[in-house]
């Protein structure tokens, strides 16, 4: 699977692979191939987990409109969630 595969898809595929490996319906080559695929998913998923910079963007304009990076500061204009 490509790099843009979501965590969801990877975990689902991993579940499938693990289930397949637990069954007897594989030949050894298939089992090895599945194992390798599983290891690759694990690697990508761990990489994803290791990311630390959250991407926040603002959708401006009409539907399908432009998106721009947004920085959300810690200091606010209304102090606490009591504000807007």
């Amino acid at each position: 699977m490509a790099d843009d595969v979501g965590l969801d898809a990877r975990l689902k595929r991993l579940e499938e692979i693990v289930a397949a490996l637990d069954s007897d319906a594989l030949n050894l080559d298939e089992a090895l191939a599945l194992f390798e695929e599983g290891v690759s998913h694990l690697g990508h998923a761990r990489e994803m987990l290791a990311r630390i910079e959250l991407r926040v963007e603002e959708l401006i304009g009409p539907e399908g409109g432009a998106v721009r990076e947004m920085s959300v500061q810690d200091g606010g204009d209304d102090g606490g969630t009591d504000g807007g």
């Binding site: 979501g6 965590l7 969801d8 975990l11 991993l14 579940e15 692979i17 693990v18 397949a20 490996l21 637990d22 007897d24 594989l26 050894l28 089992a31 090895l32 194992f35 599983g38 290891v39 694990l42 998923a45 761990r46 994803m48 987990l49 990311r51 630390i52 910079e53 959250l54 991407r55 926040v56 963007e57 603002e58 959708l59 009409p62 539907e63 399908g64 998106v67 947004m70 959300v72 500061q73 810690d74 606010g76 204009d77 209304d78 102090g79 606490g80 969630t81 009591d82 504000g83 807007g84």
Partner: protein, 441 residues
Amino acid sequence: MNDRTLDLFTERAPPDSGVDGPPETREPPPPRVWTVRQVNRASRLLLEEGLPRLWVGGEVTNFRRQRSGHCYFTLKDEVAQLRCVMFRRDAARLPADPDEGMTLRVLGGLTLYEARGVFQLVVSRLETGSEGGMWKLAFDRLRARLDAEGLTDPGRKRALPDFPRTVGVVTSPTGAALRDIVAVIARRAPWLRVLVRGTRVQGVGSGDEIADAVSTLAAVAGMDVIIVARGGGSIEDLWGFNEDAVARAVAMSPVPVVSGVGHETDVTICDLVADLRAATPSAAAEAVAPDRQWVAKRLETMGRRLGRGLTGQVRSRRWWLNQLRDTLFRRGRRGVEGSCDRLEAARQRMADSVRVRIRREAGRLSETAAALDALSPLSTLARGYAVPLGLDGRLLRGTGDLPRGRNFRLRVVDGYVPCAATGRPLEAATAANLTGGDRGR
């Protein structure tokens, strides 16, 4: 009173205008005739400036909301009526129209509508006596309608995705709610993409903006879940989230919506229609963002299971191989055992046949031995014959073999006698004569 008001009143004819001359000789001055407009204006100013803004309590009747947005109604008690108007600007903030006969208290200023000469109270705030007031009334009404339509049905609520990739957020772009949400997601699941659609979150028209933002975000490709959020506030502040448009946008959203509006105690229509109600914006973010630790743990488990799975595959094959080997071995041994039996039988047969053969051969041997015995010179020797043999063991047959002086051996029946030829050999006839002659001497 302002200057204009003073002007109006000073235009009035002085009551003592006849002092300057005898009344009978003077034409009475024509009475000052007011225009209607002047009267109404004077009355209006008297009313507006003579009385402060008042809270007035009464029972509402004939409440009408015009297309223009202005609302007209009458307040009454047992004996009197008061016409009231609430202009669009204030009426727009009114969450609902009051029911006929409802007891209200309104804040307003008295005035006179000059064009019609109608005395009325211009209402800026309208409240019911009960707690929550008009807001609660409107809330209950909308809720009843949404309940009837099934939009608040728990069965409609969709599960949130376990692992979203894109999270939409509808809130004020500058508010604390957004900061709280971003902080939570950054801590728990920083690999997510957060797409914010900024809106106003209070004031007239905020409901439409919120509804629009929900629909817009829901239409973004790849959107997994939407958070609608706002920090706490009064019911009036939160009103945008209690509007019909918001309820419908949330209900229509093709992706699940989490509502995190206000504090724990604030329940909005948006909360009721959303797929999940979170007590606060932070709680909404927590509900949406999978926890990094949890995911890591799950991956770890998965890795272990993967390893175990492959080991299991290998182990099952090894087991299988062992089984196979054992089976083969057993079968092989059975084969060998069979062969051994056959071999043993063959050996037995062979041994038997050899024995028979040996016995037969032995028989033949003894027959031969007997025959040989018959041919043996031993019996002849026993009869008194002797056989001369050379020292080399060769049979000495005639006189030619026994020249004078030759040593030889005589084989007699029980042994060998060393001998020597002492004379010249004689012919057989000569020897016989000699023997006779000797005997004759």
